[in-house]
């Protein structure tokens, strides 16, 4: 008997038997919702591939606020000119979120690693782009004061906003705490390039906090860092609010969004000495919006900004899209609701 012949017969018989029960329809073609053989690159886990509004820039070399790095215990941020050595064992376990649509940045979130002895604490380095902040604050000092005035009920002021010196620069210092959690926050704020840079130290351990503050003396900061006057100049372009007015513009091309998304699209640009836009940083934009805005801004032409008879670079902010909060809060407005 030829067994090899029997095998296909047996196989054919069993296939017929299977078809007589209700079986799924013939194998679907590949494509769309179907795949008979998903070889090739897998979708990686733990990677954000599909993004909504995100930050982007017209080139990858000009420093941007979110471009800081934490390496070998040193937090370095070329945009702000900050280098901040952290105590041994402090790292950034997780990167922060992208910039918010109101210009708020999480530059770094640092904590001691598991193996470091001692109590727990967090160093949160944040920045608020003062061009896009709807709160009534003209600079870092006013922003901290505003925060203190609107502190939520769970918190008590520990040390009201006052001036201090860190790393030979003036800082605004503000401390508050939660009696319930015995959690303290020390906020040290300054202003650089029209951003309120607020370094927030939090812990249940005030000794640790005081130690961290003393350690901040080892920071390097640009000369202009000042809670009420960090407006560029020196190594940085001068930052000027709302510089893109008709008065300063020679050529303006408005970006036209193909799709309405009703989101604010805050953008910072650096204008070179000839009045051309040399760098575009979109804080929060959908990809199609980013392209349209970048293409338009590349065509803008400003009158060069003169200082002491010489043209200088200028940094400014422009809000495209839908403003989130069209009217700035008045400082005298009572607490809402």
């Amino acid at each position: 008997m030829n067994l090899r012949f029997l095998v296909p017969v047996v196989y054919a018989l069993s296939s017929i038997a299977a078809a007589q029960t209700v079986a799924p329809v013939n194998a679907p073609k590949n494509g769309g919702d179907f795949s008979s053989n998903a070889s090739g690159a897998k979708v990686p886990t733990g990677v954000i591939l599909v993004k909504g509004a995100w930050s982007s820039a017209s080139d990858s070399t000009t420093p941007v606020p979110e471009g800081g790095t934490m390496r070998d215990n040193l937090y370095a941020n070329d945009y702000f000119g900050i280098s901040y050595p952290m105590p041994a064992g402090w790292t950034e376990i997780y990167e922060g979120p992208p910039p918010s649509e109101s210009g708020r940045y999480v530059l770094a979130q640092l904590s001691p690693t598991e193996t470091t002895k001692g109590t727990h604490g967090i160093v949160l380095i944040t920045a608020q782009d003062m061009f896009f902040d709807p709160q009534p604050a003209a600079n870092a000092l006013e922003l901290v004061t505003y925060s203190r005035d609107h502190l939520q009920a769970d918190y008590k002021v520990e040390i009201p906003p006052s001036t201090t010196k860190v790393a030979d620069r003036p800082f605004t210092f503000f401390a508050y705490w939660s009696p319930v959690a015995q959690l303290h926050w020390y906020v040290l704020a300054t202003e650089i390039r029209c951003h309120a840079v607020e370094i927030v130290l939090s812990s249940q351990d005030t000794k640790l906090l005081e130690h961290l503050v003393v350690d901040m003396d080892h920071m390097n900061l640009p000369a202009e860092a000042n809670p009420s006057a960090g407006t560029g100049g020196g190594q940085f372009p001068i930052c000027i609010k709302d510089y893109a007015t008709d008065e300063n513009l020679i050529t303006r091309v408005d970006p036209v969004f193909a799709q309405r998304r009703f989101n604010p699209v805050p953008v910072r640009i650096i204008i070179d000495k000839t009045g051309s836009v040399k760098h575009i940083h979109l804080l929060s934009a959908f990809p199609d919006q980013a392209k349209v805005v970048t293409d338009a801004l590349r065509q803008w032409k400003f009158k060069p900004y003169m200082q002491g008879g010489k043209p200088v670079e200028v940094e400014t902010g422009i809000l495209f899209g839908s403003p989130q909060f069209p009217a700035r809060l008045k400082s005298s407005a009572s607490a809402v609701e």
């Binding site: 590949n30 795949s35 733990g46 990677v47 649509e101 709807p134 210092f173 003393v214 003396d217």
Partner: protein
């Protein structure tokens, strides 16, 4: 000498002292004990406590999720004005909606109003998914989907491997479409629901025979994500908050020192804030119900009048084959108004009945918590509530985002507090939670702050039901790119007692 009762004012070396200037001292220097002139009196007492806590060994017992609380809290009841039938007729809207919510749909042949299922579906009734702890809730402990291929609901189908009897009731989506050679097309985001089952093999489905999506291939390619049902208790209140209330909350939180920076999802028609669903993509309860009826059960309706193919069938191929259309024989849409029906409530189409039912569901009542057989004290629960606020959870999980507007529907909805524990914003939740599905303005890593009311009786947690343990759910808040990392660290930096108090509080909701 160590001075436990006084906080020493630190001093920066070499800096001049100015009035009102705070100075910091190198703590290694010898110093005499002196009062800190800026110390608030109460913090002196707390300093003692703080130091005492520092020198005590930390409790050894790990914090424990008290787990799903059994026993009825009265969840699933209508609002009081509805129970009182005010205005007249509203109670029958509720009870009729609640009945229809539980109706098991067929493809054809059932009494009028219960046909139209498929040709693709995830389940056969609203309450099969929205069941826990009562009709209108979230997924049950026992997953009905696991029985469908053997109990006649989906005979000609294969049960997908991720559908298990005690796992979460769920839907599946493929973040990306497949190429024509079967590989993942990273340039073609998909993200639409890939219904688990087809009407294949059902005697009431005529000759319609459709393939199920390629779940095994999707799993091997890592090209699959899941979603579990969201509970609907109290959603009528969420629907009745004005945009300005939500915007004001966002404004008040702008300069938080926690790293939070949420935004709103908005609908493409009029730009106003949307609220329902895992990414807050749906504007109203009607849309929420209509979309679910169409997508999850395959029943076309007044809001979504066509039978729905799979995303790829619809966008890349030729839609559904004609022998899979109008299977109920009633024509389109399969769910519509019933002009001649009596009583009044029966005139409504199913989607309106579902929406009314959900809208009129009272929010889930809070309740006591049992941990390891022992009742947790109310002082522990309220301590947990305070801690929840203090460490920053409440910035996103806002205990009360506001008060509703005047309702044109029933008085219990008017000027009512909305104790949802959600700001109804979407937030970046990091690479650990990202599902790579974009919905409206919410990107693949953004999710609506999940309302926490009713958490005490919810079984499966997070958008895909990946855990039943609250501690794990909290851990998942921290990952690269998340706004919640600092608050998550604040939680785990608390001592065990404090963490336990928060967990106890959460299970009281």
């Amino acid at each position: 000498m160590h001075c436990p009762l006084h906080r020493i004012s630190p001093v920066v070396k070499g800096s001049p002292l100015l009035t009102n200037e705070v100075v910091f001292e190198n703590h290694n220097r010898n110093h005499t004990c002196r009062k800190n002139q800026l110390t608030v009196a109460s913090s002196r007492i707390v300093s003692v406590v703080t130091l005492a806590v520092l020198f005590l060994p930390k409790p050894i017992s790990a914090q424990t999720d008290p787990g799903v609380q059994s026993g009825s809290r009265g969840t699933g009841a209508p609002f009081s004005s509805v129970s009182l039938n005010s205005p007249s007729g509203i109670l029958s809207f509720f009870t009729d909606g609640q009945t229809r919510f539980q109706a098991v749909e067929s493809v054809s042949g059932s009494p009028s109003g219960n046909n139209g299922l498929g040709p693709r579906f995830n389940s056969t009734s609203c309450s099969s998914c929205h069941a826990q702890p009562a009709v209108g809730g979230s997924g049950a402990a026992s997953n009905p989907q696991a029985q469908f291929t053997s109990n006649g609901v989906a005979p000609g189908n294969t049960t997908p491997s991720f559908v298990t009897p005690t796992g979460p009731t769920l839907e599946a989506r493929f973040p990306f479409f497949f190429n024509s050679n079967g590989t993942v097309n990273f340039n073609a985001p998909n993200g639409g629901v890939e219904d688990l089952f087809t009407v294949n093999g059902r005697s009431d489905a005529g000759s319609c025979s459709l393939p199920q999506p390629s779940f095994s291939a999707a799993i091997s390619a890592g090209n699959i994500i899941f979603r579990i049902p969201t509970p609907t208790f109290g959603t009528g209140l969420m629907e009745l908050l004005d945009d300005s209330t939500l915007l004001n909350n966002q404004l008040n939180n702008l300069n938080n020192y926690l790293g939070v920076g949420g935004s709103f999802n908005r609908n493409g028609n009029d730009g106003t804030i949307t609220r329902f669903g895992w990414k807050a993509q749906n504007k109203s309860l009607h849309i929420f119900a209509g979309e679910a009826y169409n997508v999850e059960m395959g029943i076309s309706n007044l809001l979504f009048p066509q039978d729905r193919p799979l995303p790829g069938e619809d966008q890349l191929q030729t839609g559904l084959p004609s022998n899979c259309l109008n299977l109920s024989g009633t024509g389109y849409p399969e769910d519509t108004s019933n002009p001649a029906a009596t009583p009044n409530a029966a005139v409504l189409d199913d989607v309106s009945a579902f929406a009314n039912f959900m809208r009129l569901l009272a929010p889930p009542p809070t309740g006591g918590v049992v941990l390891n057989g022992q009742q947790v004290s109310s002082s522990n629960i309220s301590a947990g509530a305070s801690l929840f606020n203090s460490i920053g959870c409440a910035v996103c999980h806002n205990p009360s985002p506001g008060t509703t507007q005047v309702s044109n529907f029933t008085s219990s909805l008017t000027s009512a507090p909305v104790n949802a524990y959600s700001d109804i914003e979407v937030h970046h939740m990091g690479s650990g939670l990202a599902d790579n599905v974009s919905q409206g303005n919410a990107g693949g890593d953004q999710f609506r702050t999940a309302p926490l009311w009713g958490l005490g009786q919810r079984i499966f947690l997070l958008h895909d039901g990946r855990t039943t343990n609250l501690v794990t759910a909290i851990k998942n808040h921290a990952s690269h790119g998340s706004e919640a990392t600092v608050v998550e660290q604040n939680f785990f930096n608390l001592n065990s007692t404090q963490q336990q108090q928060i967990l106890d509080f959460l299970r009281s909701l």
